[in-house]
């Protein structure tokens, strides 16, 4: 029976729901229940949250370090693992310099783990080659909002959903990916709050409102500029706000002067009338919130898409007040925290620029070692440099880029090219299979620390069970590795020590302590001596850059359009059953049962033309790769567009996706590429990518 109920934070998605882990007398995790009085989730969890115990207790968990010899893995001791890694890292740095090594940390790991990872890279390895998966979800948010508003995070809080008059959901599918927050949106809508959905697919939320703008893939900027055109032309903008809080409005007005709703009808596929209705509704609402997700960021125009949403909110003054704001819905449980911790090549913790001499000196002094001035590589930069042999050793934890990054074949061959590849993981992922050394990682249930959710709320994660087998927390093994390399710079007794060191160097976290976080059910940054109880709404009086900036941006078409050989457009989506690469959620027999291992959503009209039946085996080919999976009829995708979730290693959408990048952030265009779909023989079982590759 349940002997103890340990309060902690759900490890799936950026909403950060309160979860209680039920532990028995033997210290085994039995199951979970929601925290009834959690400020956000209030007694609710999604299907992923409810099945947490399956992910943690999985018999697939790695329990000891493994070393690869040829194609097989053999168990080794931690000491042997650490010595091997330390020796090879040292040798590679001696030969090729610190630029040849790097770390990819994890948006699933705690703030403490992430802080330790970037400190390990910068202070021990002496490189700024540190990154994590925000590169492929919200790097355009950080870059775009930083330029427009001065801070790249959700401006408001989840609770604002019940205080607003209008919700504009742009390129986001919150009921699937942020289910509890999506539930808040449904609740507010049921209580009369207006809901407008902009999405190429008919999402669940789109089914609840008559206001669905079903735009064509990648036409966000054209649509937003036309909205701005109407709002400015009709004088519906917030003149007082624009005059007192912003700059650059004149140029913006000039820029959108000729972008009439009629002029973008064919680009966007949205009627001029609906654009006008939307412009009126958003600008006339007393309070209006914008939510957005990957449908904004995962384009070559990602950063500009984000900027145009900021333009829209600023024009109407829907920012800096309760029930307003520009609110990116961040994917992973701690992607906000991993960014805050400086697991990005260009910033130290708290977004302090690496390029600034003053910051280099600050961190050199604090850490007691001189940090490098050389710029660092992004994760895609590291894999690219690995291809050419310039980048030789990578430590990676809690991520599965082989499944989640674009152009799988390229990623695989790059990682294989490394001289040393170390992966710390819960289970044997596709990426881990390529490692030279695998380290068994402790799960969130096995460690103390903090996660920062998408509304900037830093919440306490509490250890409920002992680490499985010889598994270790990430900061612990990083510390052990640093010691093995002769460095005493990572020297902490507890996760609280790590947090305190971090908070002292990270201005937005300045006034936080574990005790205060626990007492307040989380604290939202900035939490400083001036705002000791945290900040629920950003930019109330001023922006970090003084006045917010209007920045004129132009529509950029998707990189790869359809042609005779590749006549359909493919987009990617997520299913609420699964999380990321599926390495955790797919251990649940219930969630795993919900879908075949890989699906292609296709409009019945397209399917009929191609002679494809519901649930039938199909092949999908793009310029980069080929996969087989099953077709799922769905009116949720329009004719001409097919969609694939990326959770399945058997049929990875990233065999197909495009690597064309946003020039600012190197965000790949995961949301659009051209494909050709064909029916396979009726009784053929779709081959997994592994079978296909072995058959080559």
């Amino acid at each position: 029976m349940c002997a103890d109920l340990v309060k902690t934070i759900c490890p799936f998605c950026g909403v950060g729901c309160g979860i209680c882990l039920k532990v028995d007398e033997q210290g085994q995790l039995l199951s979970v229940e929601p925290q009834q009085n959690h400020p956000i989730s209030q007694g609710k969890l999604c299907d992923k949250g409810w099945s947490t115990a399956y992910a943690i207790n999985s018999d697939q968990r790695l329990t000891q370090p493994l070393k690869r010899i040829n194609k097989s893995f053999y168990p080794i001791s931690w000491q042997e693992a650490l010595t091997t890694i330390a020796d090879e890292l040292t040798a590679i740095i001696d030969e090729s310099g610190s630029q040849a090594v790097g770390v990819i940390s994890s948006a699933r790991a705690s703030n403490e783990d992430n802080y330790a990872a970037q400190k390990f890279a910068r202070a021990v390895l002496k490189t700024n080659n540190i990154d994590h998966c925000a590169r492929i979800c919200h790097s355009p948010t950080v870059a775009g909002l930083k330029q427009s508003l001065g801070s790249g995070a959700m401006t408001n809080s989840a609770k604002d959903i019940l205080e607003t008059d209008l919700m504009l959901v742009f390129g986001a599918d919150p009921t699937e990916n942020h289910s509890i927050l999506g539930g808040h949106i449904m609740q507010a809508h049921a209580q009369g709050t207006e809901l407008i959905v902009v999405d190429p697919r008919v999402t669940r939320l789109a089914k609840l409102t008559p206001m669905h703008l079903q735009l064509k893939l990648g036409s966000n900027i054209a649509l937003i500029n036309a909205l701005l055109h109407v709002i400015i032309k009709e004088q519906w903008f917030d003149q007082r706000f624009v005059e007192s809080r912003t700059q650059g409005f004149e140029q913006l007005a000039k820029h959108v002067k000729d972008i009439t709703p009629e002029s973008v009808e064919s680009t966007t596929g949205v009627s001029a009338e609906l654009i006008r209705t939307t412009a009126r509704a958003y600008s006339h609402a007393k309070r209006a919130m914008i939510f957005y997700g990957m449908g904004i960021t995962q384009y070559v125009s990602g950063t500009n898409n984000v900027i145009s949403l900021a333009n829209l909110a600023l024009t109407c003054g829907h920012i800096g007040k309760a029930g307003t704001g520009v609110n990116p819905l961040r994917g992973q449980n701690n992607v906000q925290g991993a960014c805050d911790m400086g697991c990005l090549p260009n910033v130290y913790p708290g977004y302090q620029a690496v390029a600034e001499l003053e910051n280099q000196e600050k961190f050199s002094k604090a850490w007691g070692t001189k940090v490098t001035q050389q710029a660092g590589l992004t994760s895609l930069g590291m894999t690219k440099a690995a291809q050419s042999g310039d980048f030789r050793a990578l430590l990676l934890f809690g991520e599965d880029p082989v499944v989640t990054d674009p152009d799988q074949n390229h990623v695989q061959s790059s990682l294989k090219n490394l001289d040393l590849f170390v992966v710390a993981e819960l289970t044997m992922t596709e990426t881990a299979k390529l490692a030279d050394i695998i380290l068994p990682a402790a799960s969130f249930a096995e460690k103390d620390g903090t996660f920062t959710n998408c509304e900037r709320r830093v919440q306490k994660v509490n250890q409920a069970i002992a680490p499985l087998g010889e598994a270790k927390g990430d900061w612990q093994w990083l510390q052990a590795l640093a010691k093995e390399m002769g460095s005493k710079l990572l020297n902490w007794q507890s996760s609280e020590d790590v947090f305190n060191e971090m908070a002292a160097l990270t201005p937005p976290y300045q006034a936080m302590t574990y005790q205060k976080i626990t007492d307040n059910s989380g604290l939202q940054w900035p939490c400083t001596n001036e705002t000791p109880n945290g900040t629920t709404i950003l930019h109330q009086q001023s922006f970090p850059i003084g006045r917010a900036r209007f920045i004129c941006v132009n529509q950029v078409d998707i990189d790869e359009s359809t042609d005779d050989n590749y006549p359909l457009l493919l987009t990617t989506n997520r299913l609420h059953f699964h999380y990321g690469c599926g390495s955790m959620t797919r251990n649940s027999p219930l969630l795993e049962r919900e879908t075949p291992p890989g699906v292609l959503f296709i409009n019945p009209i397209d399917a009929k033309a191609l002679n494809i039946n519901h649930q039938a085996p199909v092949s999908i080919k793009s310029r980069r790769g080929y996969v087989e999976t099953r077709a799922m009829f769905s009116d949720d995708v329009p004719v001409g567009l097919v969609s694939m979730p990326y959770h399945f290693k058997e049929a990875p959408s990233n065999q197909l996706t495009n690597t064309a990048q946003d020039p600012v952030t190197k965000m790949p265009e995961l949301k659009a590429c051209a494909v050709v779909v064909a029916a396979l023989a009726k009784d053929q079982v779709p081959k997994t990518i592994q079978q296909l590759q072995e058959g080559k």
């Binding site: 199951s31 229940e33 007694g43 609710k44 299907d47 609420h576 027999p589 219930l590 049962r593 649930q615």
Partner: protein, 339 residues
């Protein structure tokens, strides 16, 4: 039935602790209530509050091994728990156990645990936030046939103790108790009646039940409602009468031989895969059909006939936990307004 007067509840707790493992609902610092084991040293005051998780997993485990085959023979996995008591269990959850007793009548795993359990019920004398037990004949007073012992609070921290059967009488043997006058039972009835009056208007629920059973709820209503079902399984997990389960074989080949374990786990009829057949045929492929079936099981006449009561015990847990805002109150209201 025997009626006693109890001055000091802790005497009863100590008495039971000598024979049973004793579980009681405890409230933590966050005001969250859950079943926790009590010991002679750790003995918290009895509270009449609904724990978020019902008591069903004491009998119907969330995950359990049904059998293990080690390559040569089958291993027995029937549980052998020590005698235990659920002390102060509320009427709605007791009604649910009585309902589950019928469903799992022939289930040896369930019964192995159930036989070891003494149920000490606790009358509610104040309505709870989402509860509507009087509407579905499940409270606020403990129904005699659902508990072995019933506790009813009197003034000045005094208690009325009612033993409803031999198991109850056996359990309190040796405890010095004063038998008391039957008029205390009348007083109990009055208090419970008064409590029933304090529940909010339940016409939404009763009218919706009628509409549901008169075939007045359209397919399109269910389809529209089901857009809001996120398939989270929260309602079925917390519902004290939900009993659906799935099974799977787990093969462990790490040793020299192959060990196969057949495991059963809580399932949810709101999952699309719950009724899907291997051929992909699915009688409830549409979410609307699944949501409809769930509520039909809770309030449909056909199930009333089978179990002699509704499948819902009025605890209101689904209302609190549903992220899609389609828990019992929301659904019944919408049936009345829109169906």
């Amino acid at each position: 039935m025997e009626i006693y007067h109890l001055d000091d509840l802790s005497l009863l707790q100590q008495h039971l602790l000598a024979q049973y493992q004793l579980y009681q609902v405890v409230k933590n610092d966050d005001k969250q209530c859950s079943w926790q084991q009590q010991t002679k040293e750790r003995n918290e005051p009895l509270i009449a509050e609904l724990p978020q998780s019902s008591a069903k997993d004491f009998f119907f485990a969330e995950h359990e091994n049904l059998l293990i085959f080690n390559g040569e023979y089958f291993q027995e996995t029937l549980p052998t728990p020590a005698p235990f008591v659920l002390f102060g269990i509320l009427s709605c959850d007791l009604t649910a156990i009585s309902y589950q007793d019928q469903f799992f009548k022939d289930d040896p795993y369930y019964q192995a645990r159930r036989q070891q359990c003494l149920l000490v019920g606790l009358d509610c004398i104040k309505p709870c936030q989402q509860g509507f037990c009087p509407t579905v004949d499940a409270g606020p007073g403990v129904r005699e046939h659902t508990a072995d012992i019933i506790l009813h609070p009197l003034e000045n921290h005094q208690w009325l103790l009612i033993s409803t059967n031999d198991k109850g009488t056996e359990a309190i043997k040796g405890l010095s108790l004063k038998t008391c006058h039957w008029h205390f039972l009348t007083q109990r009835d009055l208090t419970l009646h008064q409590c029933e009056q304090e529940f909010t208007d339940d016409s939404d629920i009763t009218q919706a039940i009628d509409k549901l059973n008169n075939g007045e709820v359209s397919d399109s209503f269910w389809q529209q409602l089901a857009v809001q079902c996120l398939g989270c399984s929260g309602c079925t997990t917390l519902c004290p009468t939900c009993s659906c389960y799935g099974t799977r074989s787990i093969t462990d080949e790490s040793e020299d031989k192959k060990v196969i374990t057949q495991q059963r786990f809580w399932d949810s009829c709101l999952y699309e895969g719950f009724q899907r057949e291997a051929s992909f045929h699915n009688p409830s492929a549409e979410a609307g059909k699944r949501v409809q079936r769930f509520w039909q099981h809770k309030f449909g006449n056909e199930f009333f006939a089978e179990f002699n009561r509704h499948g819902c015990v009025g605890c209101g847990r689904c209302e609190q936990t549903c992220p899609g805002v389609i828990g019992v109150h929301s659904v019944m209201k919408r049936i009345n307004n829109n169906a």
